[in-house]
């Protein structure tokens, strides 16, 4: 029995403590050093940016840090609600972008004429940065909420669309030749050949898009006053010179961005299992 256990490392509840320690130690040291240098720079007044300790020393920020769920109505809400509001917008627009992107990508990938007609336009549009869409969508849609949703959508849709189209175009001749010789029906071709073959490409697009849409929501909200959301929260804190609140918001944004990417990675691994 003991021979089947790994020879090195202390085991605790099935977790290899030694390995965990080895994996966690370097990043812990790096982060600690980073925070110490930052703290040192702001203590010595080299920069006006408050140090990481201000998250605890600043009265307002401490409240925000320890009470993420408070809700005083209007846009005066805790960090949890601010983040959730932004995430909801991302969820709506990202879902829409995934549906439109995958659908259009497949149409373009399977229809050379459509591809010829639309490729240049798409290649041009996808280079427009998220922030540049903000005034355009505000002008076009007139209201903050739909404008924010549109900015995320238009940012997220291109990588999904383009990767899907490439994935469909890159279906190996081998598979298509088999499909031709067994004269597979359109429906079976779609589900048994086209979709699985293009899936790795589609997921690449989806992962790029989730990161981009999280970037875009911040850009979109920053300039849209009067809405609950982490982007506008940052802008308002900055306007009022509550810089340590901005730092706190950045921590939230970074963590959510990381979680979103990890979630997509996990989802991809689940769906592509065994391929």
């Amino acid at each position: 029995m003991s021979a089947s256990l790994p020879s090195k490392g202390t085991m605790f509840a099935g977790v290899n403590i030694t390995k965990l320690w080895k994996d966690l130690l370097p990043p812990t040291i790096a982060i600690t050093l980073f925070l110490l240098i930052w703290e040192g720079l702001s203590q010595s007044k080299v920069t006006l940016l408050p140090g990481p300790s201000s998250l605890f020393t600043d009265e307002r920020t401490r409240t925000l840090l320890f009470f993420p769920f408070y809700d005083r109505g209007g846009i005066d809400k805790g960090m949890f609600w601010q983040t959730l509001a932004s995430l909801q917008r991302v969820a709506i627009s990202y879902t829409l972008a995934a549906i439109v992107g995958i659908g259009t990508g497949i149409a373009i990938g399977t229809t050379p004429l459509l591809s010829k007609a639309l490729d240049p336009l798409f290649l041009f549009l996808r280079t427009v940065p998220p922030l540049a869409w903000v005034p355009i969508s505000l002008a076009a849609l007139n209201k903050n909420e739909p404008a924010a949703l549109f900015v995320i959508f238009i940012t997220a849709v291109w990588p999904i669309l383009i990767n899907t189209a490439v994935g469909v175009r890159e279906i190996p001749d081998d598979y298509n030749n088999v499909a031709k010789v067994i004269q597979v029906s359109k429906q079976k071709y779609f589900f048994k050949i086209l979709l699985p073959s293009a899936l790795p490409y589609i997921f690449t697009g989806l992962r790029v898009a989730i990161s981009l849409s999280w970037l875009a929501i911040i850009a979109a909200e920053i300039v849209m006053s009067g809405i609950v959301g982490i982007g506008f929260f940052i802008w308002e804190a900055y306007q009022n010179n509550y810089i340590s609140e901005v730092v706190l918001a950045l921590v939230y944004i970074g963590m959510v961005g990381l979680l979103l990417d990890k979630f997509m990675e996990w989802l991809q691994a689940q769906i592509m299992k065994g391929q």
């Binding site: 598979y175 030749n177 010789v181 067994i182 004269q183 029906s185 050949i193 073959s197 065994g274």
Partner: protein, 276 residues
């Protein structure tokens, strides 16, 4: 001593029935930057039901191109291919092909790969029937235990076995094999040659196969078609392989005609340069 009767260009086999496949004066040209590339020129060949025809020739001479005109993936620029008197216009399961690269879907198990083909060709057959046929054919090629495995988990030989099971389970009127054992080691290759010989006998199948292995031809084929070098490749000579079936490898190798045929094929291919 030499008992084989081989006429120089017998494009019709000795059987009297109408041919299953007629390759009638087929020329295939691929345009290239350096002008038109006439790959095969004025090729005529008849294949009768139940025949096993092997094609050999130097690499790049146009063997695959000729096969593709039969399978329907390539359209002749001159002449035509007919099956039962009907012009061949495109690929179809009646001329099922085993591709050199196996062409299995890596996301489908061995079973699902075969089932997809059968289900697509016979959508009205009952599920139980289809299940039975798929299992039967995978077992026939020795994959009874590996049906649920996906191609990445299978060896090259096993993948080719799946492709062969997929092809045979459709009971095609003619089975087209393009260098099916080219990438396999010698032992696996011999095993698979025997398996194929057995299934062919079992199914009464008609086969058109490209290979570069003369011994393989002599073991499997009724006729051996030798193609001249391209460009403008054509049929140089056809050898009848007279050994009775079922064939036993060591037994046919003791037959004096074996070495006569083998030498003629090697002579044709290498101009007698190859010395054993």
């Amino acid at each position: 001593m030499v008992a084989t009767q081989t006429k120089p260009l017998p494009t019709t086999s000795s059987r009297s029935t109408t041919p299953l496949i007629e390759i009638d004066n087929v020329t295939k040209i691929y345009p290239s930057t350096a002008g038109d590339n006439v790959v095969i020129k004025d090729i005529s060949l008849e294949i009768h039901a139940g025949e096993f025809v092997c094609v050999i020739g130097h690499s790049g001479c146009g063997k695959s191109t000729m096969l593709n005109t039969v399978s329907g993936f390539a359209v002749p620029d001159k002449g035509e291919v007919r099956k039962n008197g009907q012009k061949v216009t495109g690929p179809g399961p009646d001329r099922m092909t085993v591709f050199q690269s196996y062409s299995l879907m890596p996301w489908l198990s061995a079973y699902e790969n075969v089932y997809l083909a059968l289900d697509s060709v016979h959508p009205t057959k009952s599920k139980a029937d289809k299940d039975h046929i798929v299992r039967e054919h995978l077992t026939m090629v020795g994959l009874g235990e590996a049906m649920e495995k996906k191609p990445p988990q299978l060896s090259g030989g096993m993948r080719q076995r799946v492709a062969i099971a997929r092809a045979f389970c459709l009971y095609p009127e003619i089975l087209i094999l393009d260098e099916p054992f080219g990438a396999l080691d010698a032992i696996t290759k011999e095993e698979m040659q025997e398996e194929v010989a057995n299934i062919v006998a079992n199914h009464d199948a008609t086969v058109l196969m490209v290979t570069h292995d003369v011994d393989e031809c002599l073991f499997l084929a009724d006729r051996l078609v030798m193609m001249t070098n391209g460009p403008g490749a054509t049929i140089g000579e056809i050898l009848e392989i007279p050994f009775p079936r079922p064939r036993d490898r060591s037994q046919i190798m003791e037959d004096p005609r074996y070495y006569d045929l083998r030498n003629r094929a090697l002579d044709f291919l290498y101009g007698g340069l190859e010395i054993e």
